[in-house]
């Protein structure tokens, strides 16, 4: 096995394209999973089974089936129903949806960890329910769950190559194409391996900074 620096520099233009796509998937996918997960967690607290049962069933289903199956399903079945999106948009939504079923459990734990005395104080002050959520409960719950959400961001990063299956060219997709064209595997795969580590590390630094900012 020989290491060839010229292969690295040949790969770089493709690498940057792939990196951009990977980051798009990660950032937008994370946001989708944060928002949807919170929506699920809040819906599951409604007192009516007409909401909690379907939400529970759907999220349980999504959590317990492979992301890859969901990617194929959304990519090939949605167009049959007349809903056509780009492969990237479909992939980002699929990964965001998949991870939202994990983040919803993180939020649930965070919400339940807010002491009951906080609810009682809000009642004693006559705060409306919506205000109790937005000003008292959620700020405390979210602060508690930032580290756990961060773990899912890292996990999601490592799942981004799955979007290759629906022809999204992220880092691994570009590395694979390059390898097949140039018969050089070591350099592109090493480069993207390093890139994954660097992105995880930067993401964890960012999340730690966020944690500190939210501390009170």
């Amino acid at each position: 096995m020989n290491w060839d620096w010229s292969a690295v520099s040949d790969f770089m233009p493709d690498f940057w394209k792939g990196l951009l796509v990977t980051l798009q998937i990660l950032v937008i996918g994370s946001l989708v999973s944060f928002v949807l997960g919170l929506v699920w967690a809040l819906l599951m607290r409604l007192p009516t089974r007409w909401v909690t049962w379907p939400v529970g069933a759907v999220t349980e289903f999504v959590r317990n089936t492979p992301l890859l199956v969901q990617l194929f399903f959304l990519y090939y079945v949605l167009p049959e129903w007349g809903l056509t999106f780009s492969a990237l948009a479909t992939g980002v939504f699929a990964i965001g949806l998949h991870y939202s079923t994990y983040t919803m459990q993180v939020y649930r734990a965070g919400i339940e960890a807010v002491p009951v005395g906080q609810w009682e104080a809000a009642t004693a002050l006559n705060l409306p329910l919506r205000r109790t959520w937005t000003a008292v409960i959620l700020p405390q719950a979210v602060r508690r769950v930032v580290p756990a959400l961060g773990n899912y961001v890292i996990a999601m990063l490592k799942d981004t190559p799955m979007l290759m299956a629906i022809s999204v060219l992220e880092m691994l997709g570009h590395a694979r194409l390059f390898s097949q064209e140039h018969f050089q595997f070591t350099e592109p795969l090493t480069v993207i391996g390093v890139a994954f580590i660097v992105i995880s590390y930067l993401a964890s630094l960012l999340l730690r900074a966020l944690e500190r900012r939210l501390a009170h």
Binding site: G117, E120, A121, L125, N126, L127, P128, A135, V136, R143
Partner: protein
């Protein structure tokens, strides 16, 4: 002390006199355990009433029922002539505005500064302007002796300071009734006096009705117009503090007092 910031009969002619709180035939059970058993109980406006008795006798349950943190299984609760239970939600929210509560564990909002803790409800519930609410918060913080701390978060304060903020927060809503649920039980001994002094001040200088569950018998003797001795969900003896503490009639009262005094 800025007494004009507190409920005052001359400035508030609408304030009712006579009976303010009435519980009729109130029963509360937890599972098989009956905590309150067809309790009848009333408090006149402006009175300071202390509930004493062994733990589990239902004192705190009464405060929690009045704050609507619990619902009775039977009976009715009326505050200032309006029914609090049973009542539709909208009415509960209206009637509940007349009541404030201070908790054993303070229950300040840790994500907010001291100032925001106090202004949050006046702004969002009473519709006060932010400026007016902050001005009032400053006056109340002066009353409880904490003017230097308004930009701190609760975690930066001692337990006694937190509890004094909680008192200011409750008073900011101008309640007619203040419920005090063992407000010094969670405090280190050296911090108790500061909190009790603030409450003595408020009891002396305002016409606010106080309902107090406490194990601080000296404090109860100082501020109470009436002391109610609870045992097993019933009031077994009531009267002015001089009488209850000096010449209790009931054996259970004597036993209880000799155990705590």
């Amino acid at each position: 002390m800025p007494t004009d910031t507190l409920p005052n009969p001359e400035k508030n002619p609408a304030r009712s006199t006579g009976e303010l709180i009435r519980l009729e035939q109130v029963t509360k059970r937890f599972g098989d355990h009956t905590v309150l058993d067809h309790l009848d109980f009333s408090v006149d406006a402006g009175k300071h009433v202390t509930l004493i008795g062994p733990s589990g006798s239902g004192k705190t349950t009464i405060l929690r029922l009045l704050m609507t943190l619990l619902k009775p299984d039977e009976g009715t609760i009326t505050v200032d002539g309006e029914q609090l239970f049973p009542a539709p939600d909208k009415q509960v929210r209206e009637v509940r505005k007349k009541i404030g509560m201070v908790f054993q564990q303070f229950n300040l909002f840790p994500n907010m500064t001291v100032l925001r803790n106090i202004t949050e409800a006046p702004v969002t519930v009473l519709g006060m302007s932010k400026d007016a609410a902050e001005e009032r918060a400053r006056e109340l913080l002066e009353l409880v002796g904490l003017t230097d701390h308004l930009d701190k978060h609760p975690a930066q304060l001692s337990g006694g300071q937190q509890q004094r903020v909680a008192i200011a927060r409750a008073l900011a809503m101008r309640p007619q009734v203040l419920l005090l649920d063992e407000v010094t039980s969670a405090l280190d001994p050296e911090l108790v006096a500061g909190v009790l002094d603030v409450l003595r001040d408020i009891a002396r200088s305002t016409d606010i009705t106080m309902l107090c569950v406490t194990h601080e018998m000296n404090f109860a003797r100082d501020i109470s117009d009436q002391v109610l001795m609870f045992d097993s969900g019933r009031v077994i003896e009531s009267g002015p503090p001089e009488k209850i503490f000096s010449e209790p009639e009931h054996d259970r009262t004597r036993e209880f007092l000799s155990a705590v005094l």
